[in-house]
Symmetry: C2
Subunit: 522 residues, 2 copies
């Protein structure tokens, strides 16, 4: 057990207790180009007498029938956003059952999952795989309260980890906004509708046992199906899946913040300069302020020039859905719906296509959607002069973000643009080295701030095009100095000693190698 | 290596060279009720560099890249019906490559696949898994020309066999009526459209390597997707997938044959008597004369009484699609489209749902569609006084039929009705013992002929209901005697000695046990 320095120059352990040996990151494409074979693991088929009702008398009964026991791995999806009540409900029942040392493997943790910190403290949960964390859970992880270091994965990386058995799901709990008695289910219909169930689709296929939890057991057969009956073992009916106001969060609006708009406009100009905004363009933007605002500029341009794109993908906003309806894309590939406007579109339009997590971003399958992306525009918490991006930790080093599809899309897209304000809370957004590398600099083509655009030196073609278009291109070190002349040099929280025993979380790159380590913060 | 007598009273080998040990049939539900665990096998994930074009320069190049070698297993689907040119094209290329001893695992063999008999003779093919065979291929098998005994499986059994690795597909060739450059594909669009790709969906998920063969490479992204890109390794473009006239066979019409109509009417009366034709009924009929005609009676009844069913399933005919459009069902579950009328329905109606082979009928998954069936009406070649059904061999014992979903639906449905004329070609359709048991008598509730209805003695409730409804119920032995009084007793071809070395094909029951053996015919 020792620390190595990986191809991103980051200290990573060679192995960890409770996890085992670890592969260091070797570069964004090394494992794909080597043609590495990764075995896949499926749970066995198991005969059951026919015509048995799948509807369990209670959650407890379903959990007992699933054979839940200490140390097992439970998966959840986060499609209900900040309104999810299912994960807390299940963990409460686990505690009542006296279960200990469970491993949580949600697709991500949201504000609705603050209770996880308490279950960690009480020994119900001792291991976590996730894409993101917030608030109390992030603090608990950063303090080293989770006995086994937490694995942070991208959406594509999670798909791979589930297929290869690194996340071996014993029981998947699928919050199901609509479900019929055969177990067919969808997220697109019902009072707790949330749109796509892209993450849950994958869990259902690989979990040893699948329990659908629904507040909407349909009397007749479902005619819009996200997950087919033959993947579902049991159905549990509850009063509601959560807080409808927080599940069906309003449609994302374009920001009016002038800084964000300035960033978005310059990012859009860079997209233009790249000449990728052509017929057939494929496109992803985040739901955040500046990144979503880029879509508004792109939309105007596509309308004006009569350009029709091939597809948009990712977490889909109502804004992207309206671009589909307007005919600006042939199709949307929707792994996760960011706002309430999306579920109508999913039901109405055949070319609004629900895709699973592997289809979206698994780097080791036969071709995920993000590997065909032309353009992605992504947000960041901070970046560094090597173009590495951090979307996980705040200035204090505490976990408070999500890996999401960030490194997947950055790697896959022909042009990946990171947008962020040059400083936040009086602290410069460009560091010498970010505290958590989620997306390696080699896969980031440009960083756009309101004070200038930095082009990755690897992309001489793009730099040339941006200069020709008279964009405000700056060297990243120069921009950093310029911002720090305003903000002053921030005092960084001291870095803990980078020893294996201080590791509280690992950032796994999408291909299964270890990209970075997060250390205990006292 | 010895012969056993299984729970259906049939002689089956304990093992066979080239196949290994075999489990004898123990009853239709024994393996499900025992909760037998069956390991599943998935090929490994394998990294590939991104943005590599999937379009191969030629079929030959694709086959070489897939690493095709002697003895490998190749799968195909039969959704192109009697028009398929892809299987012959691939086998011709295999022969040019000098490949030997291949194992063929199509979902079934049709009239378009007569060439297989020649490839067997020339040593290119030495093993076959199939649901059905016709003409020359059936004769070649029955004569014992295939070196390893042929495995005949139902659709549900094939799904299970693929998942458990009994059929370990090295390369799946998917005839793709429409395909985009990412490898997304569908059967519902294009000049060679064939409707559902339910069998191919399953192959794509489990094959080690997947080659889509298309005559319709779409310039833009497909918006109706049957099989997602991430399951497809390569794309081969050919001039055409086959004979469009035979792919898009005309819409199945209701028979005018008076014998079939009489049978259909009595079958319908039995359905009425069973009281299953109620709101929410689920329903499957075959595409053949009398069985499809039952749907016409049912349709009139549902209209008259204002009954809306839950769903229809199976091989779907245009007739069933028109019942969906009329609102007589909530949904159709379509694993295979029987006629050209269906593909429009698949594209137009969201509740016409394409389902894969496992969803349809795999007995060991978490709930296939046929296990929720209320009523199925099935055809037969002949039956016996134990209600066993043969849909495989003619009076001469030669293979000329298909197992299809026969035993799957008979087992799953609350009421399974077999319809057939009391004699064909001057030979009584009721035997003392059929020569090939495909569907065990325990799962057949009634046999309807134009001369009377025989109810399985296990179903005393149904017998009572039929008598109350004044249906022409007869004991099966009596009906047999009555028919034989007209036709005379047929002279049966002599049965070969039931020794393991005389076995030319095995009929595997859907759960993986051996239901019957077919012996060499000289």
């Amino acid at each position: 057990m020792k620390m190595l320095v990986n191809a991103a120059g980051r200290p990573v352990p060679s192995e960890l207790p409770g996890i085992g040996p670890l592969l260091p990151y070797r570069g964004p494409w090394a494992r794909l180009e080597a043609g590495d074979m990764v075995p896949r693991i499926l749970p066995p088929l198991r005969g059951e007498p026919p015509r048995r009702s799948k509807v369990a008398p209670s959650l407890r009964a379903a959990m007992e029938r699933a054979g839940l026991a200490d140390g097992m791995t439970l998966s959840f999806h986060h499609h209900l956003r900040n309104g999810d009540a299912v994960l807390p409900l299940v963990l409460a029942e686990c505690e009542r059952m006296g279960l200990k040392n469970l491993c949580l493997a949600p697709s991500s943790l949201t504000d609705a999952h603050e209770c996880v910190a308490d279950y960690v403290r009480r020994g119900v949960v001792s291991r976590i795989h996730t894409s993101g964390v917030r608030g109390k859970v992030g603090k608990a992880i950063s303090r080293g309260e989770v006995p086994v270091p937490v694995m942070v994965r991208s959406h594509g990386g999670r798909a791979r980890a589930i297929e290869e058995g690194s996340i071996a799901i014993d029981v998947a709990f699928l919050a199901a906004p609509a479900c019929d008695e055969q177990g067919n289910l969808t997220g697109a219909l019902g009072p707790s509708a949330c749109g796509s169930l892209g993450y849950a689709q994958h869990d259902a296929r690989y979990a040893r046992h699948v329990i659908a939890v629904t507040d909407n057991l349909m009397p007749s057969s479902l005619t819009h199906i996200s997950i087919p009956q033959y993947l579902v073992n049991q159905i549990v009916v509850v009063d509601n899946l959560g807080d409808p106001g927080k599940i069906a969060s309003g449609s994302a609006r374009i920001t009016r913040n002038p800084v964000d708009l300035k960033i978005a406009r310059d990012a859009y100009r860079l997209l233009r300069a790249s000449e990728l905004l052509a017929p057939g363009v494929s496109f992803q933007v985040g739901a955040g302020g500046a990144s979503l605002a880029v879509a508004a500029y792109v939309r105007d341009y596509m309308r004006e020039k009569g350009i029709r794109g091939s597809w948009g993908c990712g977490g889909i906003t109502g804004y992207m859905a309206s671009m589909l309806e307007e005919g600006l894309f042939d199709a949307l590939y929707d792994v996760q719906s960011f706002d309430a406007a999306v579920q109508d579109s999913l039901v109405r339009f055949r070319n609004h296509i629900e895709i699973d997590q592997s289809w979206y971003a698994n780097p080791l399958n036969r071709g995920c959607v993000v590997h065909n992306l032309d353009v992605v525009v992504l947000a960041a918490l901070d970046v560094d002069t090597s173009f590495n991006v951090n979307v996980l930790t705040g200035h204090d080093g505490v976990l408070r973000g999500a890996s999401g599809g960030h490194c997947d899309t950055a790697a896959g897209a022909k042009l990946s643009v990171v947008v962020l304000p040059s400083f936040r809370g009086g602290v410069c957004s460009i560091k010498d080295a970010v505290r958590a590398v989620v997306t390696p600099g080699e896969t980031v083509d440009a960083i756009v701030t309101e004070r200038g655009i930095c082009i990755n030196p690897l992309r001489t073609d793009l730099r040339e095009a941006a200069r020709k278009a008279k964009l405000p291109v700056k060297e990243i070190a120069d921009l950093k100095a310029e911002v720090e002349a305003l903000t002053g040099k921030a005092e960084e929280a001291p870095l803990p000693d980078p020893k294996p025993e201080n590791v509280v979380a690992l950032i796994e790159y999408r291909d299964g190698t270890i990209l970075d380590s997060l250390f205990r913060i006292s």
